[in-house]
Symmetry: C2
Amino acid sequence: MADYLKMSKAEQEQELSKLKRLYQTYQDKQLKLDMSRGKPCPQQLDLSMDMLKLSDYHAEDGIDSRNYGLLEGLPEARRFFAELMDVQPQEIIVGGNSSLNMMYYLIDLGYRKGFADSPCPWSQEKTIKFICPVPGYDRHFRITEYYGFELLSVPMTPAGLDMDKVEELVQDSSVKGIWCVPVYSNPDGYTYSDDTVRRLAQMKTAAPDFKIIWDNAYCVHHLTDDQEQTLNILEECRKANHEMRPLMQCSTSKITFPGAGVAAVAASEKNVNYILKHMTPMLISYDKMNQLRHIRYFKNKQGVLNHMQKHRAILQPKFELVEQILEQEVADCGDIAWWTKPNGGYFISLYVQQGCAKRIVELCKQAGVVLTDAGAAYPKGYDPQDHHIRIAPTLPSLQELETAAQLLTICIRIAALEKQLNHF
Amino acid sequence: MADYLKMSKAEQEQELSKLKRLYQTYQDKQLKLDMSRGKPCPQQLDLSMDMLKLSDYHAEDGIDSRNYGLLEGLPEARRFFAELMDVQPQEIIVGGNSSLNMMYYLIDLGYRKGFADSPCPWSQEKTIKFICPVPGYDRHFRITEYYGFELLSVPMTPAGLDMDKVEELVQDSSVKGIWCVPVYSNPDGYTYSDDTVRRLAQMKTAAPDFKIIWDNAYCVHHLTDDQEQTLNILEECRKANHEMRPLMQCSTSKITFPGAGVAAVAASEKNVNYILKHMTPMLISYDKMNQLRHIRYFKNKQGVLNHMQKHRAILQPKFELVEQILEQEVADCGDIAWWTKPNGGYFISLYVQQGCAKRIVELCKQAGVVLTDAGAAYPKGYDPQDHHIRIAPTLPSLQELETAAQLLTICIRIAALEKQLNHF
């Protein structure tokens, strides 16, 4: 292979023809692969089946987890998540099967009522703005879009995000918060540096009730021995007298069952009490049987870490395979693409030439491989440079993944050549 | 015993002294009984434990219930609830562990966005009013209170509710809906007559988007062979060209596990699609593993009905015991109390002399038996006549219940005499 950017037009045309014939062979396979979402594969789901064997659902203090009550969660479940999230049990609300649902609730609460430190409900502000590190998690952005907030993009960096930009934006009092995936970010796989965390904790914000939504979805989702973690955001905020600022989330969706895990919120005790008071009209209690299943099975954080090694054994080869195929098939074609090499999480970010992402996703789709929509990782689904593609390698089998990754590289190369040849 | 209302003052004083001595013997027992909520007892929870033995979580169409997806619920779960609620599968959303949570969401949706037939979000109306049949379910009222609605009380009747009053109130366009527990109502145990259902379905409402929240919490919770049921509200509304009017709920909270059952919403397909569209930013999916557990265990409505016979075997003696003790100890004391004799559901309504309910609940509490707060069944917890007490006989054992009911009758009689003697 040669550098596409240095080929003559004729060479480019010839290469494109060759690739199109190759592409045709993939179309002929009539593939049907879905790599659009960060879904665990069946083998991962099988890892947690033993937890379903629990037969005694009596929790500590004589609590019958089967019956109504304890909106804040079982005492042992609060302790469990407190250890996992490095806070105190009274700083935890253990929820249902979805941390996204709890984040939605928190945004809704800010909008309808404000928080304990809000001068007024956010809905009474003229405009509400929210900072979105990009590329980021589409479902985060969608919540704040749905509530009509103005979304402010800030670029991600390998150290977290462009903090100069963040510190500038928070001078505006209508900026009420920021979405963060601090560890193995979705989709880049970056982890916030200590400096990033400290600056987020310490920065002066014009809004007195500025909130950091700290979605620690991948806090124990290591793929290598380089186990990345961040400083404790609540601790750092407390040091800076901003203990009301962070609202942290975590869930077992990608530890046990994505549809039937347990989610938790961590925050200062004052935040927790305020949130629980407002949740009271909404719900009697979350599913405590499922909480107990999880807690009895894992026992503690070490139990979770041991379990995550089994996930790693399944996932690491998949990430390595994709990176290897990209390296083999694309690296030599010149500066047409680069990709992140995360030490954990669920995604690889693929960056292609400006204006090529949509075309590549479309080409893959026409050959039966569904990727996340190009642009999905940006507010309103719009990537101004049309250059980012999120790769989710977890769900397919290794064999399927190999086919899909090979196809992807062909599509990357086709789009690069088409761009050179002004085909679009 | 003699009629308290016909006794001389001296006789009344003497009887009161005797009762107070008796009351003291109950205080000496240092009871600790909670009859405040409609909680199933442990024996009822044991009935459903076999459902937890499910080991294969693959649903129909190759769906893996353990993974993300299907916000609307598993196909077999939609069919199951469709049969239970007498609608079509596409008219069902199968949710999480709480129908209350789904009702809260629907009120929130009306408030924030309105429904498909709303001229504008309810929050943009000058005032929002909601009809509350009284006595009713405190947690219903609390949701609409929390959202700042004005609550309009309408008296319950053995045939459902005072429909003349309802038809009058809905002439006001700010009246946006009504809370209903149509079968074995909480707390009276009344079931809406065919006439009541038809009038609710047919009535002209000034609000074009008037909603009936039809909480069918006790639809299969029969305590006798007189299995009460109502007309199909969706069907009746459809006949009257009001198919957007009803939003129906049901859950297995009091069929399987109160903390870990499965809830469902039924409504016209247009309502369901509108609701699902708005739920999409909030949640990827509810707990489908728990859905599958339930559906595989019960198979169909007949499976549920068979299961409910086992609940009846546990509950019927409890309801009979309370009614028998009330009859024995209070009926002869004159017109100081009466109570409902429901054929199903979870409660008995006890009606005492005006101004006596709070005193009776307080007396019971001081002797270690916690009843639902007097007034709880009325908007804002305020019973203008202070005459209603909700009895929840399900949780205590028969032996505990006998003690509690005996104590309750003593407190009823003490309060009646105190009232006669102007002690308060």
